[in-house]
């Protein structure tokens, strides 16, 4: 074991970590934005509207992320129609191909998380909204979505961490993210254990930040649950 290589190459690992963070941040934000309408369509009372997000989610949850990345990066570029289209400047770039694949993937998972959260809201609260005469839009905006947001947090934090780890697959399409950078360094130094340990440490550090952040948001968002549980044993 020779950890001097870690010291020597640490700045390059950090620059890789920065790319990983960009990948995760962009795809989680975009994926989250797409997930909401997908989740709402998924619980639509109309059967054919339900079917579209169902198929979408079924495909993206049922196939490996690596396959999805390859389909976007190597698959799409096989067709002349794609290469001559206006989208080629974007599809040409590995970074954007990764963003597209990650966004599609995470939006499918996140939509399922949102759907579960909305459906987990007690029926009584929905009925209460109807009783006071809220329209459907008001009900969602004032009660259901804020409630769902609180319920969704633990699972959503989990999804972001999964995305962080999934982002390592970007290294297979020439992106120098944390994993890609580590592999490129190892190609020169032949010290896989040391460099991968260092890269793993950086992934862990990022995860810890994400976990802590979500813990804070959860505490804040679900504060009323905390007070409730303190009051209950008071009775006896």
């Amino acid at each position: 074991m020779d950890f001097s290589v870690v010291v020597e190459y640490f700045p390059r690992l950090l620059s890789g970590a920065w790319v990983s963070l960009q990948l995760v941040f962009l795809s989680v934000v975009l994926g989250g934005a797409f997930a909401l309408p997908i989740a709402l369509a998924r619980i639509s009372p109309v059967a054919w509207i339900r079917a579209i997000p169902f198929t979408y989610i079924f495909f993206f949850r049922g196939t490996p992320l690596l396959v999805q990345i390859f389909l976007v990066y190597y698959g799409a570029s096989q067709f002349d129609a794609v290469r001559e289209s206006i989208f080629w400047p974007i599809l040409k770039e590995p970074f954007w191909c990764a963003i597209i694949a990650f966004t599609l993937n995470t939006s499918a998972y996140t939509a399922e998380i949102f759907r579960g959260a909305i459906q987990a809201i007690p029926e009584g609260e929905v009925e209460a909204c109807k009783v006071v005469g809220m329209s459907k839009a008001q009900m969602y905006r004032r009660v259901l979505l804020p409630r769902a947001f609180g319920i969704v947090l633990p699972a959503y934090g989990n999804e972001i961490i999964l995305m962080l780890k999934g982002s390592a697959l970007a290294s297979t399409i020439t992106i120098l993210d944390l994993t890609g950078m580590a592999r490129t360094i190892i190609a020169r130094t032949y010290t896989p254990i040391e460099i991968f340990l260092a890269a793993g440490g950086i992934y862990l550090a990022i995860s810890i930040v994400v976990i802590a952040l979500f813990r804070q948001i959860e505490l804040r968002q679900n504060r009323y649950l905390g007070t409730l549980s303190i009051k209950v044993p008071d009775k006896g």
């Binding site: 190597y74 490129t184 032949y190």
Partner: protein, 252 residues
């Protein structure tokens, strides 16, 4: 189809059993190759490793009268895997370099390589000035290192897990130029995909590139055995026969 597989499978098992009896005294040598570097090593439609490297490995085995196994592993994992004894010898068209000699030992060369650029047919390229071009190579190869050393910050460099993906991105137009070993490129330029659209650019360089079989550091016993067998293959013409299967000129 299924029956054929069963018959074939049992025949293979039987022959394996027989051969292990006949050479029971010999040690087992686990060769490893990459399987993505045609025509030196590739996976055929039946899922078996084939190519020049594999033929040489088989010939060496029968020379050494050793019981051999040929494994396949991604390029990145070859040297790390050798170090942790997942296999005993890498025969994967690996160049003998100073960097690699720090971590593994090499036999004498079993062929010679050289690097050469390749690009689109008819496109004029000034190889001393490739600023702004997108150049691709396989990660952790001589070509990739050459690009890193000479073009970092000037050209847009892209490194791939294997050579097949380099070709795919050249075909899609994401890459302007590819730097790779001359011989596999020579072979690819003869395939339906590469011919007529792409051509060599400039002359080959780093002609002193010697390709050897890597063994664990200090495994002198295996290294000597391989060197001796290699000499014998060249002396008795077996090597030349294998060479002729892949190239109409000597690559030694």
């Amino acid at each position: 189809m299924k029956l054929k597989k069963i018959v074939l499978g049992s025949a293979l098992l039987l022959s394996a059993a027989v051969s292990s009896i006949s050479v029971q005294a010999a040690d087992k040598v686990r060769f490893v190759t990459e399987g993505a570097w045609a025509p030196f090593n590739f996976i055929d439609s039946a899922g078996m490793a084939q190519g020049f490297d594999v033929d040489i490995a088989r010939a060496l085995c029968s020379r050494m009268e050793a019981d051999c196994e040929i494994l396949v592993q991604d390029w990145d994992g070859l040297i790390p895997g050798l170090k942790v004894r997942k296999f005993d010898a890498i025969i994967a068209s690996m160049s003998i370099t100073e960097d690699r000699l720090k971590v593994v030992d090499f036999t004498n060369k079993y062929y010679s390589g050289g690097l050469r650029f390749m690009g689109r047919v008819g496109e004029k390229l000034d190889l001393s000035d490739l600023d702004g071009k997108t150049i691709g190579a396989q990660r952790s190869t001589l070509g990739a290192q050459y690009l890193e050393d000479n073009f970092t910050g000037k050209a847009d460099l892209k490194f791939y897990d294997n050579q097949d993906n380099v070709y795919l991105d050249l075909l899609s137009g994401r890459l302007d130029i590819v730097l790779s070993d001359e011989l596999p490129t020579y072979n690819w330029l003869k395939t339906a995909e590469g011919a007529s659209k792409f051509e060599f650019k400039g002359n080959s360089f780093m002609k002193n590139d010697e390709i050897g079989i890597a063994v664990r550091k200090g495994d002198t016993k295996l290294k000597e055995k391989l060197n001796k067998a290699l000499d014998e293959l060249i002396a008795d013409g077996t090597y030349q026969k294998i060479n002729a299967r892949y190239f109409p000129f000597s690559i030694y």
